[in-house]
């Protein structure tokens, strides 16, 4: 009965794994070079282990319920059977050694394959902070450098070297659909290579416990064709575009006159704070507050009005604004495409 219950659970695996395919943050639904070879390894090891488990349980069942002849006493042991059992146990141990050796060797080769650096590299830098991600793109010249936050764009089919830098506590960079994870450790720069094989939006999330809002520290990797990627970088490099819309201009005034600018930067304006995410093109990002809310004028307004209810403990204070101010500043931020 208990065995059947477990067996039923085991039978559920493929079904549930299929259900997991809708995920955009899944080690099973994979679209990146690393994640694909990791999945092969995972499937191989899980399948082998399932067979091992089934064999052990089958032996257990037979051992418990086989018919047996009566024995005189607990210590009257049949030496012939002892020898046979020694052989059986020895054989099982030998099989164990073979299986784990195979796992060790295949792990070693998978690791080597993953760390073999490709030539066609694009390098970006990701910084982990409580509780958001700073992203920096380098160009061939210093003026091509730009910063953004919580959203990484990469060209499909190219290796992207991600330099990882922890600034406060330890975080971990993990986009399971593309690659395994790597920690961002203060004082110890790390690096990981990701490569998307298909265009798409892949979600990532901090995987190392980092305090109050560890649960809301997500980011997105947008993989797109080379042309779209270049258009995106060109746009990001530009300063924020001044709008002629009256509400937007009023919103900019609110942003610059209130404490917002002390923490956030908007290139092309006087706002150059470095404590919070760069907001130069915040309106063009898919999500705000590290994956918490989809970017709309409404969500921006809600977030600015009460960040502590939406993401308790985060470092953005509630800045008291009049309704009119709140409306215009959210219109302004939404306009920063």
């Amino acid at each position: 009965m208990k065995l059947r219950a477990t067996a039923r659970l085991r039978a559920l695996i493929p079904a549930l794994a299929l259900a997991g395919c809708t995920g955009w943050q899944s080690a099973i639904d994979v679209h990146g070079a690393s994640a694909i070879s990791l999945k092969h390894l995972i499937v191989m090891i899980v399948a082998t282990c399932s067979v091992v488990w089934a064999l052990v349980i089958a032996t257990l069942i037979v051992a418990l319920w086989r018919r047996r002849e009566a024995r005189e006493s607990a210590i009257a042991l049949d030496p012939r059977r002892q020898r046979r059992m020694t052989l059986a146990v020895g054989g099982a141990v030998a099989a164990t050694v073979i299986v784990i050796s195979a796992f060790t060797v295949s792990s070693f080769f998978t690791t080597r394959q993953l760390t073999a650096a490709g030539a066609d590299n694009l390098t970006i830098k990701v910084r982990g902070l409580q509780w958001w991600w700073g992203v920096e793109y380098f160009g061939s010249k210093p003026e091509l450098r730009f910063e953004t936050a919580n959203e990484i764009h990469i060209p499909v089919g190219r290796n992207v070297r991600v330099q990882l830098e922890g600034l406060d506590v330890i975080h971990s960079f993990w986009v399971p659909s593309l690659a395994g994870k790597q920690d961002l450790i203060p004082g110890r720069p790390n690096e990981i290579t990701i490569r998307a094989e298909r265009a798409g939006v892949y979600r990532g999330q901090c995987a190392e416990f980092c305090g109050l809002q560890h649960a809301h520290m997500a980011f997105f990797v947008v993989a797109e064709e080379q042309r779209a990627f270049e258009a995106w970088t060109a746009l990001q490099r530009d300063n924020a575009v001044a709008s002629s819309d009256e509400e937007v201009i009023a919103g900019q005034r609110v942003f610059l006159s209130r404490p917002c600018a002390a923490c956030h930067a908007i290139r092309g304006t006087a706002a150059n704070g470095k404590i919070g995410p760069d907001l130069t093109h915040v309106g063009g990002r898919k999500y705000i507050a590290a994956g918490l809310l989809e970017t709309t004028r409404g969500s921006l307004a809600a977030w600015i009005a009460d960040p502590q209810t939406l993401k308790p403990g985060n470092n953005m204070p509630m800045v008291p604004l009049a309704a009119e101010e709140l409306r215009s500043v959210s219109a302004y931020l939404a306009s920063l495409k």
């Binding site: 009965m1 208990k2 065995l3 477990t6 659970l9 549930l16 997991g20 809708t22 899944s26 390894l41 282990c49 091992v52 488990w53 052990v56 257990l60 037979v62 051992a63 418990l64 047996r68 024995r71 006493s73 607990a74 210590i75 042991l77 059977r81 002892q82 059992m85 059986a88 146990v89 141990v93 164990t96 784990i100 050796s101 060790t104 295949s106 792990s107 070693f108 690791t111 080597r112 993953l114 760390t115 409580q130 406060d168 506590v169 330890i170 399971p176 690659a179 395994g180 994870k181 790597q182 920690d183 450790i185 979600r203 999330q205 995987a207 190392e208 416990f209 109050l212 649960a215 308790p312």
Partner: protein, 637 residues
Amino acid sequence: MRDGETKRDIRDTDLDRPALEAALARIWNTPEGLWGALATVDHKIIGRRYVITAFVFLALGGVLAMLMRLQLAQPEARVLGPDRYNQIFTMHGSNMMFLFAVPVMEAVGVYLVPLMVGTRNIAFPRLNAFSYWIFLAGGALLWISFVLDMGPDVGWFAYVPLSGPQYGFGKRADIWAQMITFTELSALAVSVEIVVTILKQRAPGMSLDKIPLFVWSMLVTSFVVIMAMPAIMIASSTLILDRLVGTHLFNPAESGDVLLWQHLFWFFGHPEVYIIFLPAVGMVSTMTATFARRPVFGYLAMVMALIATGILAFGLWVHHMFVTGLPRLGESFFTASSMAIAIPAGVQIFCWLATLWDGKPIFKTPLLFVIGFIVTFVIGGLTGVMVASVPFDTQVHDTYFVVAHFHYVLIGGAVFPLLGAIYYWFPKITGRMMSESLGRWAFWLIFIGFNMTFFPMHLLGLQGMPRRIYTYQPDMPWHDLNLFVSVSSLILVAGFLLFFFDAIRSARRGLPAGDDPWDAPTLEWATSSPPPSFNFSYIPVVKAANPLWEQPDVLAVAGGLRINSRELIISTVASAEPEAREASPRNSIWPFVAALATTVMLISSIFTPWAVVWGSIPIVVALIGWFWPKGTPEDES
């Protein structure tokens, strides 16, 4: 006084059995009343206290687990805020590891080892009393601070810099670190006692090849504790130094190293798993032999597997750090060593299977738990092999896959055997049987509830759900499985409640057990249930590995011990030949006073470093009282 004592020097050979037992009871019994309770050094009373206290902490930790499952049953639930949730998961882990799992295993050892090796009390019995009070104080510190909303919130692993002075606010991380000091102190004390008891106090004739497997497992465990605890002692002390007096050992801005903490923590933290697991396999071996009606197959292989596990335990810690960016070659070494631990684990599983195969299994509740153990522990062991692979681990590390894995190892691998062991030894401890029918119900509820609760977590992890998140967003595909897990955990809870109910009820109204209700082979069943304060009227002489099976009718006894003062036999390490009569300490209030003074010093030191200076004075006073010469005659060879 001394003269008088020598004059009335009576040996156990001088009296007939009833007179002898009366004389032994006079000298070994613990007096009634509060003073007696505080001053006792009887390993059975202390062991029982330890077990009960640890189970209280298990129940409290279970309540925390249920709160977490309530919060995670729905996306973006607001049952708990992030601050409370972080305290709760930190408390759950710290409580279960430091206040339940390690102490309960040592507690069972404290109770059983002296009985199984046939001696009258544990070695250093006053240290034993001290260790219990220290353990209780550490647990109280943690739980009282939690109730006051000052509970640690940095995870049971307390990674710096999050737990360091810059990011760990208030006294929360200090309380965690000091709770570690309490529990490591008590664990070290118990380990030393157990090692000495096993090596020097075995009944005459119990040579190394006749030691029961549970006793072997406690011996290896105790050595692992003695070697692993200093690492966490350094870790927790340096963390307190960083926080309290501004050393910068872990501060990268001042050339400190963040990863140093992880090395120190896991150098202890991984052996910790085996500190919990090894006693459990000792229990499994004991119960398997009794209920398969034959000695465990491959005694030598089992002992070697225990020792190998104990040694390998120290070569695996880096597999907790596979994604910190250590050199690849080093990581591959730790993959190999982590995989290698599957070999001794495999040896033990195969030997148990062989024992069951060749034996004639009797399906009593303890054996059900052994079977449940094999089924679930093998899953936990295999997922352990999975996470030992560096590339595999980069996907599942710090996800619910790992949560599933270590609950399979710790609940399946250690709690199942422990519950079986409670059913098995309950009659010895209380003199009464637990209910066989309630036991079966409890087993099935726990077994089914456990698998339904924890198996889906493997899938959640592969679907990308990280650990230690207080909530998740509705657009993640984790909702159904989380709800399923939360509902299933109610079945698990029902099983545990039934177990607790059965234990409490049976302690008063269970059927009388008799000395040896299971017809078991080891020495603890040779005395009455519950055992008298002096354990054995006559010290047995052991001629076989399974004395009660192989010398069934009459157990040879050794004589010549004094019975007008506490005395026991000291024997040689390897062949257990008697070499001396040794005085065993009498009851004393000083261990309790010393524990109280230590507690005051350790807790005050959270608030000011001067507590270490002033607080040590009462400790010294207590120790002087403790070790005041008593004029006992020298031991005789």
